[in-house]
Amino acid sequence: MHSPELLKGTLQTIILKVLKDHGRMYGYEITQRVKELSDSRLLLTEGALYPTLHKLEAEGLLKTETVLLGKRIRKYYTLTTEGKSLVRERVNELVDFIKTMSNVLQVKLA
């Protein structure tokens, strides 16, 4: 399992990308999806996920809709147009970063 410290700077990008690929998702779904994609090596903690989601929402990159499930209320997140246009940029940025890191650390990526 990867250290949450390493995850910190990439969390927003991961959330944006996952939402871009899957459209409408709720918080728990996102954690599950990331877990699946990373073979359980990447676990989003709730303590980090929700504040980030709310921050992205406040910044206008995400929009939400709520669905009533009996006594529960489920909050779904989708990208806004602004959010969509930002995903590619953020992903490229991260890829670039990974390349740079591989150079700095003198390792070859598989």
């Binding site: 728990y28 929700y50 709310h54 406040a58 499930l69 009996g70 006594k71």
Partner: protein, 900 residues
């Protein structure tokens, strides 16, 4: 997939609430998440409770949950505008909800801010004097300090050759100009004269030193020819309405024919002179005389760039040695030397004064216009600041006093997840909003009060409504005041612990009570100080105006500019006397009020050696006529008045008591003789000829300058044909009638000449205009300070009464009388006012002592005045309080005790 039952979900909701997850939106979302995790775990075969705890663990249990909730709230607040809008809405709601307190706060604060605004406008105006001139930082003038024959003068009058010498001998001087004041002039084109009081003779480089913009003419040649004049636009429009004044001819004082060589823009109000008529000194005899002992000219110069004025100043003593000393030697005798001159306590020194110092730091003989004193700038600024502080204190006190009411709000907010910083911001927003509202009102108040203030200060201030800078400053000032006033309350209020507050323990504590009391004491200390100050200023003014002056200032009409009558002067006087409305009349410019002529000369007792400095007495030489003493109501103490019956009176003199004391005659005073050098035909003293006068009488000392000064020696002798005004002592009570008589005769005998007059007592009172102004300003400030402080007190008592409603109810049920309850409620604040008085009295004593030390004649400020001021403040405060206290005490106890 396993689905949770309703009971499970209810359980989770309860549990989450118990763990403190209550924020709107957050709870629902986390609930859904936890439910999802639980369901997944239950799918794997776990029991509900195990699954639930597993879900909780993924958050990090209670601490983690709360941390997440906190993080979410924080993350949502990244949009400050939203939060600000929220603060703003709540603040507005609070202001509306507590109307009474908001009103008290806004009223006090807006009055305080309004006063501050006016004072700031005033101070900015005073600081901007003379800054508009190009090269203002390089313009200087020379002032002199002379001590000779026992009299000191600190003046701006300098010798006529100084300007030319500075220009020729000092390379660091770029240009010089000197001025000669010969009083007001009558100006006409053909027939109708107008009087121009702002007339000045100036040398040709005036426009080089002071680059006043010209409308017409060339600055280099404007004053270059004899009898050329430069006039201001105002005067040009007055003399030549709708015409071009350039090149026209003017007649000055019915004698001098002058040509208009330049027209200049009116000088801005913020200038230390406002000449409308400049007459060229070119070709003027006095202006070119090489006399270093005669000081009649104001000398200004423009320093070269990079030159050091201090260096120039340090060269001036040598200039005196080189130029002035040889001439003094010639007059005072061959054995004269600089060392001896100084050894006998004399001095002759020149100093350099920058233009920027003139308006606020200069008060010498020979100022063109009265300047302002920087002390009063400091004083006004300090008082304005104090009034603002008093208003801010109202806000602080009311906010902290009402904290009990808002403690619950604070508790709930904290429980709902507000941080302390949120609350502080909330309270600060309230105070800033309040101060912005007050500032808007303050602008209105300042706008309405400005005419009153202008009237008082003699300035023409306007609100700079068009200046963007003004609004920026106003806005920033509102913010600053809001933060200053709101900081302490917000700090105080936001510190409440929710558990205690919600349980009902409002830990108001002694601390807040103490601070509040201290602030009330401060408010009333300032107020009482101002009240005592006002009363002291008025008492001194009253003392001045009713003091025995040694002459009678009432019922004297002075007709000015009598020279315009020409040869008809005596005839005019006789004509007016013949109407029978006047008691007597005198023709002399030497009047015992400001604006009267003055002439100072050294005299000695006949037979003594004038080259010995200690024998010389510097004394006022007043040229008067036979009716002077009678008309002005002076008292002969010894000897007799001048009389036509004694032909020898042409060489007689009457001295005042101060002169007798200074001369210290060895024998009988009456009949003693005093001497001075006679005037040489070419001007200046003639060393070989003496003028001798015999003392025939002594008049009681009379005040002829401000009561700040002591009596100085005066001698009076008969002089024929002296110019100046004619003074009439009139019998009639009806001053208007007297004026119309004098005017009618004037019109008949001096057609085309302006009739100008004043009453001697008015002119006398003018000497104390500054004191009157100070009294009024102090009075206004004191009233406002008391008003604002009492507004605060009013609200505070209202609040205490409200807090103690139940207590009062119980006391009444148990038999307390209304009066005892009123006393109970006012006692606490009464004590504070007493403390304030004890603090204010010594402060005021120091202040008054400092102010009065400038006066040779001052009134006694007894303990009575202090007590009176204290009592007045106490009464006003007590009336304020008793209104509220009485209302509380008189209310029906059933009402207050009925409901819990």
């Amino acid at each position: 997939m396993e689905s949770l039952t309703k009971d499970h979900i209810d359980y989770i909701i309860k549990d989450l609430s118990y763990r403190g997850i209550v924020a709107e939106g957050v709870q629902e979302e986390l609930l859904d998440h936890i439910c999802s995790v639980t369901e997944t775990e239950m799918d794997k075969g776990s029991r509900f409770i195990d699954a639930y705890h597993l879900a909780l663990r993924s958050f990090g249990h209670t601490a983690g949950l709360r941390q997440t909730q906190k993080q979410i709230i924080k993350a949502e607040n990244t949009k400050p505008m939203d939060m600000l809008r929220n603060y703003f809405t709540i603040a507005l709601r609070n202001l509306r909800k507590y109307r009474f307190y908001s009103f008290i706060n806004i009223a006090g604060l807006s009055i305080g801010l309004g006063i501050c605004l006016i004072i700031v406008l005033f101070v900015v105006n005073e600081l901007s004097y003379d800054k508009h001139f190009a090269n203002a930082d390089r313009i200087y003038r020379v002032r002199s300090e002379i001590t000779f024959g026992g009299s000191d003068s600190r003046m701006l009058y300098t010798p006529s050759p100084l300007a030319a010498t500075l220009a020729s001998d000092f390379p660091e001087v770029e240009a010089t100009v000197h001025f000669r004041n010969r009083g007001s002039y009558l100006v006409k084109r053909t027939d109708e004269n107008i009087k121009e009081p702002n007339t000045m003779w100036a040398s040709k480089d005036f426009f080089k030193v002071f680059q006043v913009p010209l409308i017409a003419g060339n600055p280099a040649t404007a004053l270059a020819e004899p009898n050329s004049v430069a006039i201001s636009k105002t005067l040009a429009d007055k003399l030549f309405p709708g015409e071009n004044a350039m090149g026209q001819t003017l007649i000055l004082d019915n004698q001098i024919t002058a040509k208009v060589n330049a027209i200049y823009q009116d000088l801005p109000a913020q200038t230390h002179f406002h000449f409308n008529l400049l007459i060229s000194l070119e070709g003027d005899k006095e202006s070119t005389e090489n006399r270093w002992y005669s000081n009649n000219f104001q000398t200004y110069f423009l320093l070269r760039k990079d030159a050091d004025p201090k260096k120039l100043e340090s060269k001036l003593p040598q200039l005196i040695v080189d130029r002035a000393m040889p001439q003094l030697k010639e007059i005072l005798g061959a054995d004269f030397s600089m060392e001896k001159f100084k050894a006998s306590g004399n001095k002759l020194e020149y100093y350099v004064q920058p233009l920027s110092d003139i308006h606020l730091l200069s008060n010498y003989t020979g100022e063109f216009e009265p300047n302002f004193d920087i002390t009063y700038i400091y004083l006004f600024a300090a008082i304005a600041a104090f009034i603002l502080i008093i208003a801010c204190i109202n806000f602080m006190n009311l906010s902290t006093a009402r904290s009990a009411n808002r403690a619950k709000e604070v508790g709930i907010r904290k429980v709902m997840g507000s941080f302390r910083s949120h609350l502080m911001r909330q309270f600060l927003t309230e105070s800033v909003l309040l101060s912005i509202l007050s500032m808007l009102l303050a602008m209105g108040i300042a706008y309405l009060l400005l005419p009153v203030f202008n009237d008082l200060s003699g300035r023409a201030l306007t609100m700079p409504f068009k200046s963007g800078l003004f609004y920026t400053i106003i806005f920033l000032a509102s913010l600053a005041v809001g933060v200053a006033a709101g900081f302490y309350p917000s700090f105080f209020l936001s510190a409440f612990k929710p558990v205690q507050v919600l349980k009902g323990h409002v830990a108001l504590g002694m601390k807040s009570g103490m601070v509040r009391s201290a602030l009330v004491v401060f408010q009333f200390t300032v107020s009482i100080f101002l009240v005592i100050g006002t009363m002291a200023v008025y008492r001194q003014l009253n003392y001045i105006q009713t003091k025995k002056l040694g002459f009678n200032k009432d019922q004297v009409l002075v007709v000015d500019d009598a020279y315009a009558l020409g040869t008809n002067r005596v005839a005019y006087k006789n004509e007016v006397m013949n109407t029978g409305k006047m008691e007597s009349a005198t023709m002399s410019g030497y009047l015992p009020v400001e604006g009267g002529y003055r002439s100072d000369n050294p005299w000695w007792i006949e037979g003594r050696d004038p080259s010995m400095q200690e024998n010389l007495v510097s004394i006022q030489n007043w040229r008067i006529d036979y009716d002077y003493i009678k008309t002005l109501g002076m008292k002969i103490k010894e000897g007799r008045d001048f009389s036509q019956e004694f032909p020898s009176d042409s060489s007689a003199v009457i001295l005042n008591e101060a002169a007798i004391k200074t001369f210290n005659f060895p024998g009988e005073v009456i009949g003693s003789r005093i001497a001075t050098f006679a005037d040489a035909p070419g001007g200046g003293p003639d060393k070989n000829k003496l003028q001798v006068l015999t003392v025939i009488g002594v008049v009681e000392n009379f005040h002829f300058q401000s009561l700040r000064e002591n009596f100085s020696p005066v001698m009076m002798f008969i002089s024929k044909g002296g110019g100046g005004p004619i003074s009439f002592r009139f019998k009639s009570e009806d001053a208007q009638e007297v004026i119309s008589i004098a005017e009618a005769k004037w019109k008949a005998m001096a057609p085309g000449q302006p009739f100008t007059y004043y009453f001697l007592d008015d002119r006398f009172n003018n000497m104390y205009a500054a004191e009157m102004r100070l009294g009024k300003v102090f009075g206004i400030f004191a009233t406002l300070a008391i008003l604002i402080a009492c507004l605060g007190l009013f609200a505070l008592t209202a609040f205490t009464a409200e807090q103690r409603t139940k207590e009062i109810g119980i006391r009444k049920v148990l038999g307390a009388s209304i009066s005892s309850i009123v006393l109970l409620l006012s006692k606490e604040f009464g004590k504070l006012i007493l403390i304030a008085f004890v603090l204010a009295a010594p402060l005021a004593w120091f202040g008054i002592d400092w102010w009065l030390k400038d006066y040779s004649y001052r009134t006694e400020i007894g303990v009575g005045l202090y007590l009176l001021a204290g009592l007045a403040a106490f009464l006003v405060a007590w009336i304020t309080m008793s209104f509220q206290s009485f209302r509380a005490a008189a209310s029906n106890p059933v009402k207050s005790l009925r409901s819990e």
